[in-house]
Symmetry: C2
Amino acid sequence: MTANSINKSLHKKNHALDNPLEQLINPRSIAFLGASNNPMKMGTIQALSIIKDGFPGQFYPLHQTEKEVLGYRAYQSAFDLPEVPDLVMFVLPAHLVVEILEDFGKIGTKRAIVITAGFRETGEKGLQLEEKLKEVADRYGIRFLGPNCMGILNTSLPLNVTVLPFKGQPGLLGMVSQSGTYITQSLDYLAKKGIRFSKAISVGNEANLDITDCLEYLGQDEQTKAIALYIEGLKDARRFLETARRITPYKPVVAQYVGGSSAGARAGSSHTGAMAGPDYLYDGLFKQAGILRVHSVEELYNQGWVLATQPPLQGRRIAVLTNSGGPGTAMAHICNQGGLEIPTFSAVLQEAIGPHVMPFASTGNPVDLTVQLETSVLSSVLPELIMKSGEIDGLVIHGLMGEGFMKALYPHLTDLLGGISEEDLIGQFKVNMETPLSLPAKYGLPVIFSSFFGREDNFTAAYQDHNIPFFDGPEKAASGMVALHHYNLIRKLALEETNQLPPQSAAAVKIIQAALQKGQHLLDEHSSKQILAAYGVPISKDALAHNVEEAVAFASKLGCPVVLKGCSAELAHKTGHGLIHLGLESEAAVQEAFDSIIKAAGQEIPVLVSKMEEGKREFMGGMVRYPGFGPCLVFGLGGVYAEALRDTVFRIAPLSAQEAREMTTAVRSADMLQGFRGLPPVDKDALAGILQATGNLALLHPEIAEIDLNPIMITGSDPLVVDALIVLRNQ
Amino acid sequence: MTANSINKSLHKKNHALDNPLEQLINPRSIAFLGASNNPMKMGTIQALSIIKDGFPGQFYPLHQTEKEVLGYRAYQSAFDLPEVPDLVMFVLPAHLVVEILEDFGKIGTKRAIVITAGFRETGEKGLQLEEKLKEVADRYGIRFLGPNCMGILNTSLPLNVTVLPFKGQPGLLGMVSQSGTYITQSLDYLAKKGIRFSKAISVGNEANLDITDCLEYLGQDEQTKAIALYIEGLKDARRFLETARRITPYKPVVAQYVGGSSAGARAGSSHTGAMAGPDYLYDGLFKQAGILRVHSVEELYNQGWVLATQPPLQGRRIAVLTNSGGPGTAMAHICNQGGLEIPTFSAVLQEAIGPHVMPFASTGNPVDLTVQLETSVLSSVLPELIMKSGEIDGLVIHGLMGEGFMKALYPHLTDLLGGISEEDLIGQFKVNMETPLSLPAKYGLPVIFSSFFGREDNFTAAYQDHNIPFFDGPEKAASGMVALHHYNLIRKLALEETNQLPPQSAAAVKIIQAALQKGQHLLDEHSSKQILAAYGVPISKDALAHNVEEAVAFASKLGCPVVLKGCSAELAHKTGHGLIHLGLESEAAVQEAFDSIIKAAGQEIPVLVSKMEEGKREFMGGMVRYPGFGPCLVFGLGGVYAEALRDTVFRIAPLSAQEAREMTTAVRSADMLQGFRGLPPVDKDALAGILQATGNLALLHPEIAEIDLNPIMITGSDPLVVDALIVLRNQ
């Protein structure tokens, strides 16, 4: 075997995943531009992270003048290197990057991290520089992160290219962030919380590799058990959705999105140049992708850590154990609000618990032990009784504390104890940690702790180091359990079918082509409804009359009362000009209405004769395209209250039947779909079918810009599109 | 001057406030039961807190056998004491407390704290014991906290009777908690966050002094600048409301309520025996009281601390300054969502900022400096430029860090710096703290910080110690600013008038008395509406017909179309049995309907003839009494959607005109009150008047159990009660 072939097999082993991130995150060798021997330069500090945090591969600093950088031989250029490095990293001024990247392209390096800022985010000139960077990378087949990023952290290799040191063991939470801060400035903070990354990636401007590539990579990465995303905007929401949807059935993903407010969007775009979008679109996106949404970076870390470390929560039954009533009540409150139950324990279990708690303590769940210096009741005895009872699916425990509490008391106690040292005092409270730490795994149940003591307490530190979440507030522990519950619902839902696009309808194509040839952008109601009907959307019965005799004939065929509407693309938005006549009960009324419409229109136009539909419940639906999202569907409450209540939800097309059903029940007014006030329940499959068909239609006909279904009237049980409007794109 | 008169004048000075809590929280002398020389007893630990944390008064331990306890002479009974102590504290078994309290009553002690558990919260026997305790206290005029509490903390005296030591300077945040944990186990946690109590009180079972007494006390206490409340249930919500309403115009109050969920209520009641209630009632209560509501204990502390330390936020314009884009975007997002603005800075201000930031940094707000080792730009230069510009009302700043950051980097840097010690490295980055710390006061603007470094960082520690909030997450800083904004709105609102009860209506009394004499609990629609009309509520025009001729005459007077309804108290709930006939257009129709109603009723009953009112908007209102809350008002969306949308809000009667108006706009569907879809705006004063009158009516007539106004129809602009039902209490 030659050295070359050994290297190749090592490379293969190293880069097990067929993903462009693999070689970048697991490189065997790194060339580094921007490190010197000046410790006050960011480049130096980042190079030190690589060296000091134990990167096991080759490290090659490049420098114009120094012969040695940080104890490593320095090279002048890519061409001087003894081998082709897997990865090249730039912490150089922006104008120097493109040329040097090209050198590395020439020698065959395929991965780069461009920390350097000063590209697209700075304006036109920076944008041009970024375009050049992309062009060079494409030419040489280089995939890169950044520019304007903080790098990566791979705790299993290990490889840390961020500014701050990484302490502790490799972790289980993968993170991708559109803000570098959240994977670097927070490392000390996370160490104090016992939260540890598997891999963390700062994506910067996403000029080449983007957040979706990173998500896909972490989805495949075995070390990563859950994924946390910090998002300010997505360039291609559809690709993100498709990728996430493949991952979330087997690996939890949690995300924070902050681009939706005006100042947020302004800040975000000035920061990375990424495109933000309205908050409600991201709500829909996350829902469809099976991603849990959070609203602060602390929740992102905490819930990510719970999801990465805890076994699935198989049911809703939670036990609440505390040393104090307040936290117990607060935890029960959060669990209840999140859809979990705090069932009262059986008499048998309560009897078993009884002897271990104060005579007046509640044994029913929540269990409040009150403060005790003997910690084993809260750490082992009660948890084990409860776990083996089979009565609950998960535990939240507040107030387990040992050394932290004693350290706090020490200054008051030392005199009384003859000037005992803090160490000796604490020594008297040494406890066996093995049993408490082993219980969750023994019974396979999720357990989350909280207390007001940090890692100065032996319990906090030990649980955290054993991948059992231990937070500094009872609501945080309970919220973690709610996150497990929500992920459980996502996992169950994800087993179902996906959407199959039907064949394109020739009839629909014909109508659209005809309109385009006439330079029409608005389709009239009749044409719009014909297209919908071609894809199976139930529409109100109607017919297009070209003269008064036809109108009368159609009315008699449909049966009175009928509605007459002037039907012309040019007049499609003009509803207030005598073009609509409702509730026509007789032949004479139809005749009169027809004449009146022609008069109002000022020209001979076709008149749509429709059956007058009555329904006590009205909804509305539609399709609109957003940049990066493609066709999005909207569904909501219709009728007179719609405008005031703004009860709408958005989803991205296509919808599976299941997603479409979920969408109809995601509005606040979903109870109106049930039988109530003497009305029969709505045919939910039919309603979902309308939304699904509208989405498919939009995908099959890219010429359509917008679809408006308003109202979708419920007649009896059946949803019926009573009015519709299709808008074509400007060609 | 005799010793006695000196003592008296000292007492007066000491107990400046005319409040039963004053002597309890500022005692000159304490008798203590339950301390020994055994350091593993809670009583001992609590006594040590008194002694070691510097209580300046007299301390008298009582003990049966010991001559000396914790270095103090011990006494056998109250009668042996050298003086009458201001306060007696019990950490004794429950069965011993009553008798000893009586001893202290006999010698003249007027205040007690009963830490001891084992009373009402343990069941019937405990309840009896608690009743005895109350009886003894009442007999001797003793006011006490507890039982089953954790005591108090008065950081200005100082007096700490809780378990854990209190460190640091006296603070500004007053706290009252129905869970002792939150004022004792959290003391270390709070010290790390730089949050310091003025006074903190654990109320336990509230057998004598309750949370409202404590709130009133903290409202008067000068050291306390804001008040935080942890609530599991209120015994007398009306008294609480009245007290809070007097305080919140000049002192912010923030509260967490967790009793509303089923398990929360169960846990809470087992804990303190307090009565919980539905969450929506507390929402209304806090709104009316001007109390900010939070949903976790961390928010309670954080927002309480912001409100206690920061000057009022006078407008909505916030500057966001960071060393990283992500936190800036997240802070802007939270501010926007909370009703604040992040205005773009003027060209002049941006020009002034420009030279201090990287060439490509945004100067427009948020300002992202990117990471810099030079901290003065973020700590002083930019804050001062912005503060003196007059363009903003408050600042949130993320990422200011110095020594914490250097300490984190130290292990990577030391070799390169010739093995420099951590101290020496940090020494090189010593900065002038005077300017940064003085700026907020100089310009009188609220400023809130966040970073991922704790008190190991010189900035975090210094700001915290100077009462400038410094949190560990950007969203927490931004939420603090939102809390200031919400308090500002509360303060402005609080300036207005309150409700004046009108005189009782003789007509209403007559109707109610007549019904009660007949043993009737339901008033028919006509009687119900007559009562409402007597208090000025606009009702639909109607008249009670006792025969068909009257019905026809009334109909012709009112003008068709009319409605006929069988009107009888016994049938008041039976709407589905042919007793209602709508839309009667002719004399014949009225005759036919009248006969049909009498037939359906099976007896001669009066028939209500009303004008058929049409309105496209329907609301509903009503009154219901809850224990502890008295008459509560409900207002919400009516009509066919009401049931599905459950869009209702609750408030406690009486309502001021302003509160009533606020109530009408607190529903989600409030936009329906505006002119929309061609409908005119609703007369909001008239609508508010209906709610206000309904509340007054309930207060003036305690015999009324429930009032139902459904619908309140909007005809044109005018709200009109079209149907009403009044239910009387069971006597």
